[in-house]
Amino acid sequence: MKIRAIALNTFKEAIRDRILYLLFFFAAVALAFSRLLAVLAVGDRVKIIKDVGLASISIFGVLMAILIGTGLVYKEIDKKTIYTLLSKPIQRWQFLLGKFFGLVLTLLIMTLAMGLIFLVIVLLHTGKLEGRMLLAILFIFLELVLITAVAILFSCFSTPILSSIFSLSFYLIGHLSWGLETLIQKTRSGTARMMIRGFSAILPDLENFNFKTEIVHGLAIDPKFYLFSALYGLVYTLFILALAVLIFKKRDFV
């Protein structure tokens, strides 16, 4: 109940934030632009539209999650609104979860809106409503949920600018860390290999959420992969949120 009240308030805050609409506008422009790119490109135009479209949803979704998420907790502390809030019978973890769910709700609606534009563009081009695209969008959304948790974690102890840089780094590292697997195979066994293996275990692997290529090219995917990815997202998000709660619980609000 209390979490819901905070989440809805956070949602209101995000929805009344101009940056959200700015990003949404650019996302819409990028989606429309994918059609233009397709005209210029050689090869399968539909695939270009789908590729660029899904990538746009992913990138602008991440930007929304980071730019709004990193400010959420920080602003409460900076503007001292947290003083009155936490003097009410609310536990700190409830506050943090409320913030998290509020932003997740915002992102859900934004992803749905961007997804809708995307589907319409694809529909206009192919004449078919492609439900399978929704699967790719669903996993983009799961990734956004994780990024939101990360953004909130950083914003528990750092300024929005630093938090944004940290979260963006998390995103980039997450999408490049699969390269470590290749590196492991090319390294001879020994300390170096152990270290790389350690890194690859700790670092997030956001490619787990990336089904864009398979879905765009109509390749078959084992349902086990979906399940694994969803579980991976859930566990990682819970882990990050738990970390955020631990840090937040000990904090002095000066």
């Binding site: 009240a5 308030n9 001292k80 609104t81 009155t84 003097s87 009410k88 609310i90 002095d252």
Partner: protein, 305 residues
């Protein structure tokens, strides 16, 4: 009377700077607040008033010492359900309207829909903000924020209120109105803990005060016990007398036209002065004895502290 708030030997230090250096803000604060009183917590800027409050509200964690609110620790839900807090210079969610803002806090206490609407309407009336009900807080003036902030503290009908500089930044009329509201709340049986450095406010409405200087409570008690009834000096306004003749009798403070304001320290000198005025056919316009004020005590204590 029952004690609603007990603070015992509270210590808090903050680490400041790049190479952390400890700075002690609270150095053993102890005080107790009884049910139904307006308790004034008085101190110069930076003495530790707000820090004490934040410890009590569980926003920061004290290094040492004990706090009991209705006998419960600060972080317990039981303590929080029955208190309200208005921070200094309150900032609230500026994207909400006044009604939405109060509604949000009402939800946190789990108020039912019907009760909520009644409560919000009553509170907005109490603080004189019915007209601003549907206005976004970003368009509010400082005084309006203060009022809606006070309304927010009352949403759960708390027994104990913490008000940090509640009259700061208000115009004279606003100060009077909010002061009246605070007194009315006391009459309803609420206990009010008032932080301020504005002495007139405290002097007018507080039953008991504690004075904090440099992180220590240096004095605590009823206003009467702190302020003596002793006459410090008498201010006399007179005219028709040559200022040179007055030097032995008192200290001339200012002259306006032929009127002279004189501070007279000894009571004998007042008799002499009146005799002089009668003899020279001058006039006495006013004669005001000045007793000790809270300000005198405060200034004295801050200097010593």
């Amino acid at each position: 009377m029952a004690t609603v708030l007990e603070i015992d030997n509270l210590y808090k230090a903050f680490k400041v700077g790049f190479i952390p250096k400890k700075r002690e803000i609270l150095k053993g604060v102890s005080l107790s607040v009884a049910a139904g009183e307006i308790f004034g917590y008085l101190g110069p800027n930076g003495a530790g008033k707000t820090t004490t409050l934040k410890c009590v509200l569980g926003l920061i964690f004290p290094d040492r010492g004990k706090i009991a609110i209705f006998g419960h620790p600060p972080l317990s839900a039981k303590a929080r359900e029955n208190l309200g807090y208005l921070p200094e210079n309150p900032y609230f969610y500026d994207y909400l309207t006044a009604a939405e803002f109060l509604d949000f806090y009402a939800q946190l206490f789990g108020l039912k829909k019907k009760d909520k609407e009644d409560k919000i309407a009553t509170l907005l009336r109490l603080v004189g903000m019915e007209k601003a009900r549907d206005l976004q807080l970003r368009k509010f003036s400082r005084g309006m924020l203060q009022r809606v902030g006070l309304a927010q503290t009352l949403i759960n009908d708390p027994a104990l209120l913490f008000l940090d500089e509640p009259l700061g930044g208000l115009d004279p009329l606003g100060r009077k109105e909010l002061r009246d509201v605070i007194v009315r709340l006391k009459q309803e049986g609420k206990t009010i803990f008032l932080c301020s450095h504005i002495l007139q406010d405290i002097e007018m409405i507080c039953d008991r005060v504690a004075i904090i200087v440099g992180g220590r409570v240096i004095s605590q008690g009823t206003l009467q016990s702190l302020i003596s009834e002793r006459v410090l000096f008498t201010e006399v306004t007179l005219s028709g007398i040559d200022p040179a003749d007055l030097i032995d009798l008192g200290e001339p403070v200012s002259t306006l036209g032929d009127r002279i304001l004189l501070k007279v320290f000894q009571e004998d000198n007042i008799e002499n002065l009146m005799a002089l005025v009668r003899e020279r056919r001058g006039r006495i316009h006013s004669l005001v004895p000045r007793t000790e004020t809270l300000e005198d005590i405060f200034v004295e204590m801050v200097r010593q502290g």
